[in-house]
């Protein structure tokens, strides 16, 4: 490749900020942007109220599909109106960032794989032993969710999450909806991203490797269209028809075979020999390129131009920021990308960490959540266990949401398909009446009001009687070891929950899903108003001192009412600003 003009290349790598900010314990290897993307500092985090700290921590974790149970963050015995942090909460953000900088050890990964694959005593997969049930065709779309849910916070889980995110963008979608693609392309694209990012390969090199792949060609299909889409997706250059034609000529020897030859990628023995000029600038505004540009003769030259182009990193950043900061102004999104690129962003880990830990994201960004972004963190905060086998969030939860068109969790009905659409997910979560009605219905009826899935209960798991602890209940044998060995493990209310006043219990539920306490108006409506379903259904009692308490073992009934209420609040469906 001969580069005609290099004048637009001005390599600026900003120095990392002297204030490394809160998150990094390993600043030499960690990406700390400055300017608009600067991380929330330790001082800023320390200055927040306890509840705000929980909001910030939960927001960071949710960005990679993780949730934080209230009892992990607060000392429940101190009440929740003005909560006291648990011993680890004051440094949660630091700890979280440290976690996602460190990979899981092989033994842990192997153990999780064993859980997912359901290996028997001989090491062979046994579907009956699998923790989750996957569909045959949809497995590539379902397994990433299972992995993200099972991996503890770590670099491993972080890379799984951002690879899934990228697989849902126009840049790396496997476009399963297209005739020329198949589910295996989804698996290959996702695995490619995980492997490359894990090996710390830079964004430019990843895109250079991806462009000639069969996954990309099955979407582009012709040389001309690989040109069109390469310029649009990776450089943000639209309306470059003449350039795309020249790419088509340079790629004339690369051919995607037709359906009856399984859409294999092939080539001829007649490559182009005449250099083509692309990406010339139109200096006089007449619509015709007249200055600079790049010579390309073969398809590889085009890949090199794109992956080495100055617009590549800003465009990649733009695609991701358009999702993560969807409701922010264009100027703000622009400032975020300028800041990240000028700070030397090089890898996808840099990009996502730069956004997620930035002050602007954590404190000031507010946008609608995608359903998966709601579901996974909420399930974790609810202390859900799929083996409770309750409704749609049972062992089939991931296939229900990713693949099963007849299930109420199916994200396609929310216009939030995973690894399906040729253009990837649209940046702003769809809130048209139908899409949102499906989101609301799934969240309300299949998750929040499905208390059996997270209350804590005894279940038969693979032929064994197991007590699965949850949000309210635990095994009585844990509380009273003298019961160990009796025939059954029965429900006992967790001591901290049992000791809560009704108001604190309501706060507990609000914090779990909304990351805020109930307001005085809400407490009045739920606990004082005579028409409140909690009172009408007689869920309150009084202790020996005459204080109101939640009637024993009615915690799940109260939760069903409170979560029904919360599901009716618009804010439930938002990633919220903390400021």
């Amino acid at each position: 490749m001969k580069i005609l003009r290099l004048s637009i290349v001005a390599s600026v790598v900003a120095l990392a900020s002297c204030d490394a900010g809160l998150p990094s314990e390993n600043a030499t290897n960690d990406f700390i942007p400055s300017g608009f993307a600067a991380p929330l500092s330790a001082e800023e985090y320390d200055s927040l109220s306890s509840t705000q700290k929980y909001q910030v921590a939960s927001k960071a974790a949710a960005a990679v599909y993780k949730g934080i149970p209230v009892e992990d963050f607060f000392d429940l015995s101190a009440g929740l109106a003005n909560p006291t942090l648990s011993s680890t909460a004051s440094t949660y953000l630091q700890t979280f960032r440290s976690s996602i900088n460190n990979e899981l050890d092989n033994a842990t990964v192997a153990q999780i794989q064993e859980t997912l694959l359901g290996l028997d005593e001989n090491g062979n997969p046994d579907p009956d032993l699998q923790k989750y049930n996957f569909s045959n065709d949809g497995k590539p779309k379902e397994e990433p969710y299972a992995l993200i849910a099972e991996y503890p916070a770590s670099r491993t889980s972080f890379i799984a999450a951002i690879s899934l995110f990228l697989s849902n963008t126009i840049m790396f979608t496997c476009a399963e909806e297209m005739e020329s693609t198949n589910p295996n392309d989804c698996q290959k694209t996702y695995s490619f991203l995980v492997e490359q990012i894990t090996n710390r390969v830079g964004i430019r090199q990843i895109i250079r490797s991806y462009m000639p792949s069969i996954m990309n060609w099955r979407i582009g299909r012709s040389g001309q269209n690989v040109g069109v889409e390469g310029l649009e997706e990776f450089l943000g250059l639209f309306d470059r028809a003449e350039d795309a034609d020249r790419v088509g000529i340079a790629c004339q020897d690369v051919i995607l075979l037709p359906e009856d030859q399984n859409y294999e990628l092939s080539s001829t023995s007649f490559p182009n020999t005449e250099p083509q000029v692309i990406l010339q600038e139109d200096t006089n505004g007449d619509g015709i390129g007249d200055s600079g540009g790049f010579f390309i003769t073969r398809c590889d030259d085009f890949y090199n131009v794109v992956s080495g182009h100055p617009l590549l990193l800003p465009r990649v950043c733009e695609v991701v920021v358009n999702y993560m900061m969807a409701a922010r102004s264009t100027d703000d999104r622009l400032a975020m990308c300028e800041s990240l690129v000028n700070s030397g962003m090089n890898t996808f880990e840099d990009l996502f960490k730069g956004i997620i830990f930035s002050r602007e994201y954590l404190m000031n960004t507010e946008r609608v959540k995608g359903f998966d972004e709601f579901l996974l963190p909420t399930l974790q905060a609810l202390q859900w266990d799929s083996r409770t086998n309750s409704g749609s969030i049972d062992e089939r939860v991931w296939r229900n949401m990713a693949s099963d068109v007849n299930n109420p969790l199916y994200m396609g009905d929310m216009a939030w398909h995973t690894m399906t659409l040729k253009i990837g997910r649209v940046p702003e979560v769809p809130t048209d009446a139908l899409s949102f009605a499906n989101f609301h219905k799934a969240a309300r009826e299949n998750v929040l009001m499905n208390t059996g899935a997270y209350r804590g209960r005894r279940r038969d798991v693979n032929g064994q009687d197991v007590y699965l602890p949850g949000l309210f209940f635990m095994s009585d044998e844990v509380l009273d070891p003298t019961l160990d060995g009796d025939d059954t493990e029965d429900d006992a209310v967790k001591p901290d929950i049992a000791a809560m006043s009704p108001a604190d219990f309501i706060h507990y539920l609000f914090l779990t899903v909304l990351q805020r306490q109930a307001t005085a108006e809400e407490l009045n409506g739920l606990l004082v108003d005579p028409g409140s379903p909690i009172l009408v259904n007689n869920h309150l009692d009084q202790d020996a001192d005459g204080n109101d308490i939640i009637r024993n073992f009615r915690q799940d009934d109260v939760a069903s009412i409170v979560f029904d209420y919360i599901s009716r609040l618009a804010e439930t469906y938002y990633v919220k600003a903390v400021n």
Partner: protein, 527 residues
């Protein structure tokens, strides 16, 4: 220099090294966006509409089918296929045997009107022959000749070359109707055939006037400079009229909803506006969908005219749609239009997802079947409309038991763009420009002679043996911009100067007027 050209120059300049070009452009356009749609310059006169079209009983209803990805125009235009095939890089006859021969010549595929038999062409012949449809072969972008999906979809669905931060066609309609509501309130064109709903209605009383069967869509892209009242905002429905708007296990609903409404202050509603609006739509639709669902479960009409009793009726001549996903969507859209006369603008995706017609490959095998399925569904749709309306002899009511004329229901079919006519190495077609408009039904809102013809003539242009060969309008042919279709739709609701809604201050200050539906047939019968 035009404003947009200037902005593009700026975005490509050296200052943009670390800035995504689209973001830079967007940023500049946002700043420069000082010319919002000039709604107030519109003029609305429903009386003029009824004077022009005396049989028009109520406001026109438009079903707009968009073929995402941009279909090849060849299914509806093989008029110069001989020249195209001779100049193509890949052999047409090898890929599609018979494509260059007339139907009466050894199993050729060219129909009398130069449609593609096997790619919907025989159905097109039926539809044109029986005055159900006209085909315009020269919908052509001259002002901005973009071949990008994104820009083309924006241009076609916003009805303007000004696509940056601008509203969709449905939004433009809604805003004008709201601003000129006095022209609509109480007008007989808003009368409803259901006596329980009745006459002398206000614009704000229309039920589901704007509906998408494709989820969120650019057709209803909002306008940052104009507010659409809740009653005129678009809603989304699914094929089966499923009712996810209905809450199950809602025994505590009254109390909890009251508390939620009490707690969510105007400030909170504004803060969470998008979801607040979605909740409002949910509540509005909760009970209305059931009636539509009931209507959709009724038996389809009986086809009584002999000429129509072919292929898509059962033994008792009851109409049947093909068993395809698209037919399900179209049936739902037609059911909505027929059973809810207030639905004025309905959008339907002509593919299962974006990109369905983007045939860079598979031109020979997948495209013809897909086009055939499309037209078989359209044939059922026009019969569904015809045999539901009292304008047809012997018909007294719709399947949902409304006594109404249905000849105000029009269907339009377009896509992103046409494609190149060169068959590429993957036996497909890359992006082009000139495309077909298929327009069906709506006799009561069209001038005489508007249906039953083929308009527009094309020629192959481009270097023989290269990929960049397309069909362009001939120098004497009638052609029109995509914005003309938007303008036609606007004129249907009584907007007498629709070009003001399609204007672009920089690229097209005068805007585009409606399609001239009086242009005569251009396609002589080939045999």
């Amino acid at each position: 220099m035009k404003r947009r050209a200037f902005l593009k120059t700026m975005s490509a300049s050296g200052t943009a090294i670390f800035v995504p070009s689209s973001l830079t452009l967007q940023s500049l356009v946002n700043t420069a966006h000082a010319a919002p749609v000039n709604y107030d310059a519109a003029n609305v006169d429903l009386n003029q509409l009824t004077a022009q079209f005396p049989t028009l009983e109520r406001l026109p209803q438009v079903i707009n089918i968009f073929l995402y990805g941009g279909p090849s125009e060849l299914s509806g235009n093989l008029s110069v296929i001989g020249d195209i095939a001779a100049a193509s890089q890949s052999s047409y006859e090898n890929a599609i045997p018979g494509i260059t021969r007339l139907q009466n010549d050894n199993n050729g595929l060219i129909t009398p009107r130069a449609f593609w038999s096997g790619a919907g062409g025989d159905v097109m012949e039926f539809l044109v022959e029986n005055n159900y449809m006209s085909v315009y072969r020269t919908m052509f972008k001259r002002i901005i000749d973009t071949r990008s999906h994104r820009q083309s979809i924006f241009q076609n669905q916003k009805g303007s070359t000004d696509t940056d931060v601008t509203p969709g066609i449905g939004t433009r309609m809604a805003v004008v109707m709201d601003r000129f509501r006095a022209a609509f309130d109480g007008h007989p064109l808003l009368d409803h055939p259901d006596p329980g709903i009745g006459n002398n209605r206000l614009l704000s009383e229309l039920i589901l006037p704007f509906v998408s069967f494709e989820g969120d869509t650019t057709f209803f892209q909002t306008d940052p400079d104009a507010v659409v009242p809740v009653g005129l905002r678009f809603n989304t429905l699914d094929n089966d009229f499923d009712n996810p708007y209905l809450r199950d296990n809602d025994g505590n609903g009254t109390e909890l909803e009251a508390l939620a409404n009490l707690v969510q202050s105007p400030a909170a509603q504004a803060r969470f506006q998008r979801v607040t609006d979605a909740f409002t739509s949910r509540a509005n639709l909760e009970n209305r969908i059931q009636a539509l669902s009931d209507a959709s479960n009724q038996t389809l009409p009986t086809v009584t005219e002999v000429a129509d009793q072919a292929d898509d009726v059962d033994g008792a001549n009851v109409l049947q749609y093909p068993n395809t996903g698209f037919a399900d969507r179209l049936r739902a859209a037609v059911t909505l239009a027929v059973e809810n006369p207030d639905s004025l603008f309905i959008t339907v995706s002509g593919s299962n997802g974006l990109g369905g017609w983007d045939d860079h490959n598979n031109g020979a095998d997948r495209y013809p079947d897909r086009m055939q399925n499309l037209f078989e569904a359209l044939r059922a749709a026009v019969k569904h409309i015809k045999y539901s309306g009292t304008q047809t002899a012997g018909v007294t009511q719709t399947p949902g038991m409304l006594a109404r004329r249905t000849d105000n229901i029009m269907i339009n079919v377009i896509g992103d763009f046409g494609r190149r006519c060169n068959l590429n190495g993957s036996i497909g077609w890359d992006h082009g420009n000139c495309q077909n408009l298929f327009t069906l039904g709506g006799e009561a809102m069209r001038p005489a002679g508007a249906l039953g013809k083929v308009v527009g003539t094309t020629q192959r242009v481009g270097t023989v043996g290269t990929n960049n060969q397309v069909q362009d309008p001939t120098s004497t042919s009638y052609d029109f911009e995509p914005m003309a279709l938007a303008s036609t739709i606007y004129s249907g609701v009584g907007i007498t100067n629709p070009e003001v809604l399609t204007a672009d201050p920089d690229m097209d200050p005068g805007g585009q007027g409606p399609i001239d539906q009086t242009v005569p047939n251009d396609q002589p019968l080939l045999f």
